[in-house]
Symmetry: C2
Subunit: 452 residues, 2 copies
């Protein structure tokens, strides 16, 4: 992560240097547990029981936890989570993931052969290997949003592909507009040869949620330009506004033939993000739709030359896609955890940030991040240049040093020339959010005064 270099301030905290804050609040990652969010008990109990089956003796764990763990262990080779699974995942878990997708999409069928469990949705981007010819000239291109989290861009570069940036329209709530896709496509002429369109919904770092109409336009565009659709839908559980999450798979199916039978789509999901937030377990899946059987064969062999995803991560995916149901003993507590809604965090962020001079935050409709614009005073921009930093990096560094808040600058994600943003994770306990907003407000006012 590009911001690991910012960890040293913690070291001086440890070394006892006095700072005007007690501890750093690190909201630079999309990593809820790091920021103090507690894991879901049901998930952890099932995992612990699978790891150490002796825990299932007696009635210390609820009966549905024990039943789930017993079933899952039966599905592991040799009855142990310590054995390898099939490289695309434990077949029974793959089957249940596919059933979850069918339910989620209102009955649009999902075929289990199209699901591949991997050690994270980022890893699954490797399917691009079948699209990218690293020796091609001009290079293979992938249309990618601005702003966009940097791991995707780095993955594309590692595969030898070129990112072709298209801008989301901030003033319209970070809308994805087809005219801009067309402009981006035109811009690639003579530079690279675009084969895919990468969309993030709900957004990261920009917290938009696409509506059906917008998705249909994007799908038509992809069809017309013969672009493979890569849909990063890892925040599908995290929606706070009026627009409900609709998967690209569902939007595509609803459009009917010929589109529903021809547009090639990969949709990514993970146990790392959303309400579960189990980043450390490393597991995600990709669903592939409408791929040519010959290409599927390549993808199968791509997966089969790799080892399986961590088995405990696969089990977390099983729980994520098949949580406790009404009537199950663990259901009430599970729902209580799940309902610890982030809506209040989002409301407070919008309220406080928008009240600060020189800040503007679009509604956070979904995802895990706020990505407000900060209008930096010319003197601050000048000072940043003097010290050889991007202005928003300068702002974030000061914010860290003076207020103990570890944010990331918009520079890391791409932003329109002359605009500056900061990103911070909103998936944190409400009391931590209040402390964060208090520190941010105090710091920002001092900063603006200093450079006014």
């Amino acid at each position: 992560m590009a911001w690991e270099s910012l960890n040293p301030p913690r070291d001086y905290l440890k070394a006892g240097v006095r700072k005007p804050y007690r501890d750093v609040i690190d909201v630079s990652w999309g990593d809820p547990h790091r920021a103090g969010v507690k894991p879901l008990s049901f998930v952890r109990q099932v995992l612990a029981a699978c790891l150490y089956p002796k825990l299932m003796e007696g009635d210390r764990l609820m009966v549905d936890v024990r039943q789930r763990a017993q079933r899952l262990l039966k599905e592991c080779a040799g009855g142990s989570i310590g054995s390898y699974s099939n490289t695309a995942g434990i077949p029974e878990i793959v089957q249940r993931v596919s059933e979850f997708i069918t339910r989620r999409d209102g009955g649009v069928p999902c075929r289990r052969e199209n699901i591949f469990i991997s050690s994270g949705s980022q890893w699954a981007l490797n399917i691009l290997k079948v699209l990218v010819n690293s020796e091609a000239s001009p290079r293979t291109g992938v249309l990618t949003p601005v702003p966009c989290h940097s791991t995707t861009i780095l993955s594309l570069m590692a595969l030898g592909a070129a990112a072709v940036p298209y801008h989301l329209t901030e003033e319209r709530g970070w809308a994805l507009e087809v005219e801009e896709l067309q402009r981006a496509l035109d811009s690639a002429k003579g530079v690279c040869s675009p084969v895919a369109l990468y969309v993030i919904n709900p957004g990261n770092p920009a917290g938009y949620v696409q509506n059906r109409k917008s998705m249909q336009e994007v799908i038509r565009f992809a069809a017309e330009k013969r672009l493979f659709l890569l849909a990063d839908e890892v925040y599908q559980d995290c929606v706070y506004g009026k627009t409900e999450f609709v998967s690209y798979k569902r939007a595509l199916a609803e459009m009917g033939p010929p589109l529903s039978e021809t547009v090639e789509l990969a949709s990514f999901h993970t146990a790392s993000k959303g309400l579960m937030g189990e980043c450390g377990l490393r597991a995600g899946y990709v669903e592939l739709v409408n791929l040519d059987p010959a290409v599927m064969k390549h993808i199968n062999s791509l997966f089969s030359t790799n080892s399986c995803a961590p088995v405990l991560g696969q089990i977390a995916l099983d729980v994520m896609t098949n949580p406790p149901q009404p009537g199950d003993p663990s259901y009430p507590l599970y729902m209580k955890h799940i309902r610890t809604s982030l809506a209040e965090n989002v409301r407070r962020v919008e309220e406080v940030v928008n009240s600060l001079p020189g800040f503007s935050c679009q509604p956070v409709e979904g995802g895990a991040f706020a990505f407000p614009t900060v209008f930096l005073p010319p003197k601050a921009i000048e000072r940043a240049k003097e010290v050889g930093m991007k202005p928003d990096t300068f702002y974030c560094l000061r914010l860290l040093e003076e207020a103990g808040l570890l944010f990331s600058p918009g520079t890391e994600y791409g932003q329109k020339e002359g605009t500056y943003h900061i990103r911070f994770c909103i998936m944190i306990p409400l009391d931590v959010m209040e402390e964060l907003l208090r520190r941010l407000s105090g710091f920002h006012k001092r900063f603006m005064k200093e450079f006014s």
Copy 2:
């Protein structure tokens, strides 16, 4: 895995078709838990306590389990194994791994900056990316042993490198001989440009353990030919014969300057193999020695564009490299598990297999596999050709169908023209091994009679 296609026979078992065996014994993987080996309690208890810290309340778990889990949780961001770690691993675990290596190598120092934890030793082969230029002509070559497990060869191919096979000398206990390395190097002329030499010690599938003298010869050869040494040492805990395991790092250090300061070496280890056998957790590490600082920079950025290894796997590595010590409450049970030695399995395999007509098994000095030669009768070879199979694949398929033993054929690993081998995992409970040998003996005698 190439042999997944052989799973169907299990399906007919489930479907109730009568077979002359109760269940398939699958020893085609190096996957002890799959074959019925029980996980180490201490490992599983620490992992379960980290996952579900409530388990540490009361005294259900030994005090050293609780202390270990508490320390590890403090080292995780936000005190949760659900958060990301640094991409090279949790710094404190990396530090303890480096201390383990120093102890193992009799004090030869190990620098923590040279250790990278990844999601398995196979993944760590990606460091070859810095050596392999996929666009080079002629292609980059890597000297690889015959026999060799196929995952390495597949990884090399995926990176765009060419494998340059060198043969181990079966009749001398699968010895690695420098003359053969020279022959292999010569064979590459005009075909590819070798930059690295891959060695497996203890062997897989051939169960040799290299002695110091042989390693020194290999190191001198690598130095002279300027080859990067890639040492697969994942079975370092599994040694049954007279030759003790010496790491390439140690052998190199003992040779003194200039070699000890110049030969570039990567050594791989993992929690999947050896006595722990936690394949499903997905974690391993690589130690890099004598690499150019500029190359190390590349490797650092290679790791930093990836997500971290599964945190629970990292914790398993911590336990593997720092097991309970004399005086710790968990020590007696841990030692009892560890001492459930495989030496008796090995003795029985050599005894029984070598007593069968047409079989010859070199001493299994280390590793997880037996890889005996089977001298197939000409009529069997002919029949195999008729059905379009390699003779050893034909033998293994019959063995599966008639005796319920899932072995893998030598064809998968490479073998001298006209010789045939079978590989099977010896890390199985002793009663399973006895049943395996009973079935193998019965089947083999019938097979030899049928084709005599």
